[in-house]
Symmetry: D3
């Protein structure tokens, strides 16, 4: 089985972190192909960055599907471009936030997501609503710039732990979801430290992708995710017209 | 990996149908152990039957966990006894309805569940709400007694198809979920016939179980699913006291 | 008028407390018949205990209806087994939580329920939602084991009062609901002490039962509460098959 | 026990109908004092009439409380002036719609209200939401002017029955609530004709009033229903200033 | 363009404050006609005062419409009498709370309303729900009697600022709405002081009124706001019968 | 006052239609500057087209703000790119759908949006939820390709009218919102034909923009719409990095 993992930001070291987390849980026989978007922001922090992460992301998913990938993962916790990707692709497309919440929902009633920056909190709350989890999920921001997660001298881990403690005490969280693909390698340590389930979206998405492929399920092409209508795309965006990108 | 599948009704032929569906999708290396409850109703149709399916179900899950199962599936679409099972067990426990809706949510926006009897429709609508899917899920009843699904001379399949047609036309469903464990073997045929994703809860639950085990996730023991307090259980129910059953 | 009050746990002293509270408010001419379940847990604390309180409860309701009871009260604040009981019985069946919230809703906009243990808080929050009161009801746990309510040397009362104070100050509660049948005899004192309406579920349920009987209302047998279908129940649960229990 | 029933419209024959329905269900020892508002519209159909039914209604409730009534019923299905009455009075104040929905919620999961005019449907839907019953209650209008209910030559009854049939078939209603105080005397007949619980708000409100009085519950004076602040009311409305009306 | 602004309380100095705020933002060519209700409470604090502010308010709107006003503003933040006014009038009728929330919704995701008295908080929360803004709006009360806003020696401003600080820190409000018509003249100062958008309902309502008039939109007379049916109004309220008031 | 209207699709004739509708309602002194996006799809039908309409849209808004526009309108009913635009710009940014629903909410309780294609219906339903209008708004699709609106030989108008009739009869809509910028010039005719308010998003957005500018309100830069952080944007998207575009 071949699963495509696209990092929609353009920082290759974050792709490596996500790919490592993905391969740790992938089943024997699953080939995780990890790619970095070739255009757009080096990190995704808020609505503006999200908009410009989508073109590069869709390009990679289209290429991956043509190259035989059976499912695609958007390796960013904001589930950037998820609906456009599902309309474009026939293979299942999975977001980290939805996969992590799905896994959490089987083992806990109250969940807290700890994300990086305050400006990502409101978009995540909207996702939580969309996935039907508002009644039992809180979102906290640890005030950590995304790229500082890769800097061992930053106090990113300490801030994350502080919010996890508050989540357990004030939100009465029964499980914690790590709200950034860049936090994936902390999962095992944090589980031990806090004694509750800690869920990383990358790992959850890989298993969910395997699950959908094994079930023979692909994105429904009736309704919301009907394939894009062929039509001209003008100017610099011509290469993205459905006819061209899906050729 | 060893996954326990418990049929909470006492009809062994339905266990066989579910076990067959489960083994069709189980990963290489996954051992599906299927058992039939030893006590209670021969089929589960409505709130009353549900109540009496729980003791036999929990007995099997407790035994299965002791025997080394790494996850348990409740093979009834009503997700009978799910909360009690999660409180009792440490291993993940998965319901068919929640697993099927979870799978559907990754590939479609609007979903219709087609179940057997009208009296099961309202309990399922409450489950749909609980899983946060009310905004995009409808439930239809095909007026089929559960056990007639095993009778080739009944018109069960025709009634099911009639409701699927209505689901596509009136509900604008993008994917169909089969709302009874006994419908599992129709999945492949119905996908071809209707051209939309058709999801069976048994298969979805098996893959979800594998997913949670691979992620190293077990039921949170903080909060709603804290282990039962040891206390006397009187009369005929003494064997179910937490101390005895979990011994 | 004859009203059945069933304590679904097996501790007779708690039945006595509830029966006392019930008779204090019963109308002249109302006969409250109080019975203790003959099987199952000595107290109900969480989902697991709930499951094993149901068989004994239903046995008593079936017997009580045959003996001429015109309404039945489930004397546990978790409204354990309410749906199964309504499907089985023709007479109205009333839960303490729903009766108390109903009474509170006529005299206050914001309500706080103070219950015993944290593990009962989440099941109660789900009940509150089910009864349509989430928008104006909070649930607090006082960290009191149920049976300690009967022990005068415990600090149960002090802990209860502490949560009531927080309810008034932080939740801006306008009325308090006592979230355990075992708290019934504190109602009058707490009203005086706190100066707001304090509502006990047992008393509220008795009056609601009288109300429904006087209105000539019985459980609708169309839809969700249609009578159980006659079918075999196997093994130790044979005595609970609809045919036998409703004979 | 003395219960005040105020008809907030100024048609005395409707007061008589409601009083008759009230006395049929009142407990032995309950004295139902029925009064007709002395000012305002002869029937309440929509938002505008509602506004002008409130002054006369409050005058009667204030007078009734001074004269010793222990609870007050607003005998109009729109629950006109309910919040203002609760703020003014110390005794419990009960609306027909909330009392009927409360009774229905104990015996059925899905409920349909059949009211008179389309223009009353939207205000009733807002009430249904307010009482937390939107998830399980539909409102239908039978296109009957309120006062035609008293005219035997009108086809009011036929139109009502037509909507009840649709409620059972299309809404899958398990119980019917009659959405106008003027329909009270049809209850018994309609129960027999349709075979499901049919609930009249007047009867339900009387029993609910008795229930609250027996429980010793009065409107909370903390928060939303705090007593009106004494202040001047100018012009023609001076007699309604809190100081005067509550003197 | 002629816009009617009715102060539904009977304190002329508050009308002057509102009229001043209105004229500051009115377009060149817009004539703001400000009137004070001739009957009822001197300030509106809670449900009871609201009920008695409606008759005088409707009288002024009816008179204003006859005199050629093209839109009417109810200059009280509780949106007192809004539905009745819309049913009566053909011209658009605008409430301060709805206009302010509407403006805020275009420039911020999270909003906090700071109002005067605790007893106004719950009615405002119900309005916020009605306008579909519950998910992103909080209401705070500053414990300021309405008329003290006009008294420079009171500490009203200090209390208001204290709640605004809490709104920014604890609610993470992105914009503040001033929840009383009497606060209008503080808007500019508070914007500077707090560095976030601060919105006054009077100004917002004036611009919204101009907007609706320019769009040629009037209240729909189909459904909820259908014109009142002509019928007798008895006693002191005869002058308010639809036939008379709309003559 | 200078208001920027950006057509986010690349069809200049649709810009002209929108600009015409905008100028018809613009106040004396308001200068509507209409521009067509220079890149991307010729029409926006579904999630995929939406993603590629955003870059060109943001480019025009950034340029317009620098050139002195005081507010920006996104002239597409899907409110494409609204959040990203608000984060980028300091001036208010207005979507057609939100402006039209806002106007409708002041004059009607039940609203139906009639849009073009089924694939646009689900994204619009999500917008309706986001704007808090789900409880009173339905969305219908007339099965009209966007560009056929400009083709007089198509039966687009007939299909639109058919859905409007259904909206009035089945949805009991009190006002109709036209769900595509290309329908703007039909507004006046349809109002006359159907006798209910008909609202075009372009006109509504122009007035809303004037309203916000007159109130001195700009997008809050605290929280969800904080300005994008300066960071590298790689590859073909470098011109869109916050530093460059906002320079």
């Amino acid at each position: 089985m071949k699963i495509l993992l696209v990092n929609p930001n353009t920082t290759a070291s974050m792709t490596a972190t996500a790919a490592h987390a993905a391969r740790l849980v992938a089943a024997h026989g699953t080939d995780v192909v990890a790619v970095t978007s070739s255009m757009g922001p080096v990190s995704i922090e808020g609505y503006y960055d999200e908009a410009f992460a989508v073109p590069g992301l869709l390009l990679e998913i289209a290429a991956g599907e043509k190259a035989g990938a059976q499912a695609a993962i958007i390796a960013c916790f904001d589930d950037t471009g998820l609906d456009a990707a599902r309309a474009m692709a026939n293979i299942p497309v999975i977001g980290l936030c939805e996969a992590a919440l799905c896994a959490a929902s089987f083992i806990a009633q109250r969940i807290t997501i700890v994300t990086t920056m305050e400006r990502s909190r409101l978009p995540l709350e909207r996702l939580v609503y969309r996935y039907g989890m508002s009644g039992r999920t809180k979102v906290r921001a640890a005030d950590i710039p995304v790229l500082s997660l890769e800097d061992p001298s930053s106090n990113a881990r300490a801030r994350l732990c502080q919010q996890m403690e508050l989540a357990l005490r004030e939100d009465r969280a029964e499980a914690i979801v790590l709200g950034c693909a860049g936090m994936a390698d902390l999962t095992a340590d944090l589980r031990k430290e806090f004694g509750v389930p800690v869920i990383d979206g990358v790992a959850a998405a890989v298993k969910q992708a395997e699950c959908l492929v094994a079930l023979g399920l692909t994105t429904s092409k009736v309704g919301a995710y009907a394939s894009p209508i062929h039509k001209p795309y003008l100017g610099a965006l011509t290469p993205f017209s459905p006819e061209v990108i899906m050729a």
